[in-house]
Amino acid sequence: MAALEPTGAVPALPLRTRRRRLAALGLLAVTLGLVAFSTLLGSVTVPPQVVYQVVLHQLSGGALFPEQCAGTTVSPRLCGAYVVIVWQIYIPEILLALIVGAALGLSGGALQGIFRNPLADPFLLGISSGGTIGAAIIYVYRYQEANADLLLPLFAFVGSVGTGLLILGIARGRFGSVETLLLTGVAVANFLSAVLSLILLYNPTGSEQVTFWLLGGLGLATWQVDGIACGAVLVLGTLLALHGRELNLIQLGQDVAQSAGVDSRRVRLRVILLASLTTAVAVAFTGIIGFVGLVSPHIVRRIWGTDYRVVLPGAAAVGALFLLAARDANYLLFPGSLLPIGIFTAFAGVPFFLYLLYRQRGASTMGST
């Protein structure tokens, strides 16, 4: 980068830049460390040596540690169970936490940017209520038992996307007004909540599962789920993250952005669609995990500044770390049981978020207004 600077160009602030790069390296290191640590945590305690041997065996395609429990006292039968637990449950769970955390963080960052509102989160446009209706249909009418694993995610995804499109459709023509769009979202979400209450009132059997769904969880994680989620989030997220420059200009106002070459209305529609789809993918597999999408962009802005070319990938990275940490907190505090993960994102996220808000004089990371 430095080589590109023409002579006479302003030298970058060395201290601030260095501090930010250090923080980025720190984030990477902490994430890798946490991933390694997370493999030790789960519903069953597996000896650490076995965990790492299993992982290395699988990653190397069997070249390393051909005997996965070699050098331990674990019996061959138990070893077989450990292999399944580590490779078929823990690792997919960890990966799903990373993928969904990244999706929610990125989506939250993009929506906060496009609406210029620090309170925007991925569920802004009725995604959660729509997804919940989709899931409730499966739970209540017990389709899940009769059908394949992917039916629940499919219903939830269709519910989410359908609701998002419905809201955009209603607000169409008045798309220039942020308020109209947001209020439409609130109205539709409330309507769907009423529908949900009605369904549960007459079909109490599914209500416990729906409550779990409303707090989110990683229980559906499999390699297949991870593959689908990862592919979708990678494609959608990359497209979304390419809008950093547009979002930077939109912070100056729709009109200013337009005068500088940003097709504001089109960009807004594109970002909302991409962010909603990204969120819908996450919702489909894990339910409604709150707070990750709200808090992650704020953390990024506090540490790395307000450039959306940094905020978007940064929010994805912080979101991934955050959700993985929440999973680990679950197993550390309640060994052996996987509880709704939304409980832990809120427990960890709310105090930290408040600390960030009040640590500096400004009450928001999105400007003084």
């Binding site: 023409p6 302003v10 100056l252 500088a260 500044g305």
Partner: protein
């Protein structure tokens, strides 16, 4: 770029813009030459901002065409527009503490695809722009740490980094102190002097517009009502007509640029105006009637004046107050036709004031006609300063004045006495 040859950098042809059913611009025609600095003037709501927004392509005219560099604005993509027209909006206030250098780099947006990053060229342009706006030493500072004046220059810098041939500014000086106002407009002026940048600025301050712009376009109720070099456009009559303000027009002794001293509204919202006090006719000339006309207008009287010669400053005052007048061509004796009009005005008046004007052969008919009012409406003679010669017709003027006095005209010492006399019941004033 292969641009069709059009001598105009910007051309509006019969542009009409409506907000709902309310027209905001009506059939506006305008052609701006490359390198011109045009000030858009007009009262609030006259269509200045609407015109700028139409040029930016934010608003689509219901009729007419906006062309930029010879191409219709509606045929250009958002990116193409951003390479042709840059905008300094009113009161842009960044919310994030972006580094000034990066903020200026935002202006390079229209030159990049989604995957490009800024090139060395972009950074060189940003550096040059920072130099132009005098903020090179603040490049690393957060934009929120700049003062109001510096921030407005930064906004200009962001627009300049778009390197467009056309620059639009909407009230760029509205939040600035007088020093920063001069500074900013001088910079814009300097940019246009190279001939590569055409600037169109909506400006409320007519004196600043007259001082810096090549040309002033005045809008009123969405129409272009005046257009030309400042010295041709700025007049007391225009101020009265378009802004409803009474002002004195002066000239900057150094530059010759016109400047205005605003006094008060043409029709102050007083009950007297609504009830239609007057009209009071003032006879004068050579500047003698001005103070009486203004005082009467301010006191709520409708006024008329004459007969006066064109170019007489009394005439400009009268017109700026919206007065009906009887007017003769410059330096000519009052002719029969004008005399006839004067008689009409005197007939319509509820009172007549004779200002202390010098009387010569050409304007003697003024005194002559006032005689016809005696006994029919109050006639007030303003007392002349002693020792000053005013009768240039060998005593005939003195004789006429004496006749007026004998016929019941009342002498008043000045403005206060005049107003007091007019306020009295009619019978006593005509004594």
């Amino acid at each position: 770029m292969n641009v069709p040859q059009d001598p105009a950098a910007l051309r509006l042809t019969g542009v009409t813009v409506r907000y709902g059913t309310r027209p905001a611009l009506r059939e506006v025609n305008l052609a701006v030459r490359p390198g011109e600095f045009v000030a858009l003037a007009g009262p609030n709501g006259s269509g200045k901002t609407t015109l700028l927004r139409a040029v930016l392509g934010f608003l689509t005219p219901v009729e007419g065409e906006v062309e930029v560099l010879g191409r219709p604005i509606r045929s250009l993509s958002v990116l193409e527009r951003a390479r042709a027209v840059a905008w300094v909006p009113q009161g842009e206030s960044p919310r994030d503490d972006v580094r000034l250098f990066d903020y200026v780099l935002y202006g390079r947006f229209p030159y990049h695809g989604p995957l490009d990053s800024e090139t060395a060229d972009d950074r060189a342009i940003a550096t040059r722009v920072l130099d132009e706006i005098g903020l090179a030493d603040r490049a690393d500072d957060g934009i929120l740490s700049l003062s109001g004046g510096e921030r407005q220059r930064a906004v200009l810098g962001r627009a300049l980094a778009q390197t467009t041939p056309i620059l639009l500014l909407d009230e760029p000086t509205s939040h600035l102190d007088i020093g920063h106002q001069l500074d900013l407009l001088a910079r814009v002026r300097h940019l246009t002097e190279g001939g590569h940048v055409t600037a169109i600025a909506a400006l409320h301050d007519l004196n600043l517009a007259a001082r810096f712009a090549d040309r002033i376009v005045v809008l009123s109720h969405g129409r272009r009502v005046a257009d030309g070099p400042p010295s041709d456009v700025i007049s007391e009559a225009l101020l009265a007509e378009v802004w409803g303000v009474v002002a004195d027009l002066r000239r900057d002794p150094a530059t010759g640029a016109p400047y205005l001293l605003p006094h008060h509204l043409v029709s102050p919202p007083r009950p007297g105006v609504l009830l239609g006090k007057g009209p009071v006719h003032v006879v004068g000339g050579g500047g003698s009637a001005g103070p009486y006309l203004r005082a009467l207008s301010e006191a709520g009287y409708r006024v008329t004046a004459g007969a006066l010669n064109l170019l007489d400053s009394d005439l400009e005052t009268a017109e700026s107050l919206g007065a009906l007048t009887a007017v003769e061509v410059p330096f000519a004796p009052i002719g029969a036709e004008v005399r006839e009009r004067l008689r009409v005005l005197l007939e319509a008046a509820t009172a007549v004031v004779v200002a202390p004007f010098p009387v010569g052969p050409s304007n003697l008919p003024n005194l002559d006609e006032v005689r016809g009012c005696l006994g029919r409406r109050p006639v007030l003679l303003v007392r002349r300063p002693s020792g000053e010669e005013w009768d240039f017709v060998g005593g005939r003027a003195r004789a006429l004045e004496e006749e007026l006095r004998r016929g019941g005209a009342r002498e008043v010492a000045g403005i206060t006495e005049m107003l007091a006399a007019l306020a009295e019941p009619r019978s006593r004033a005509s004594n």
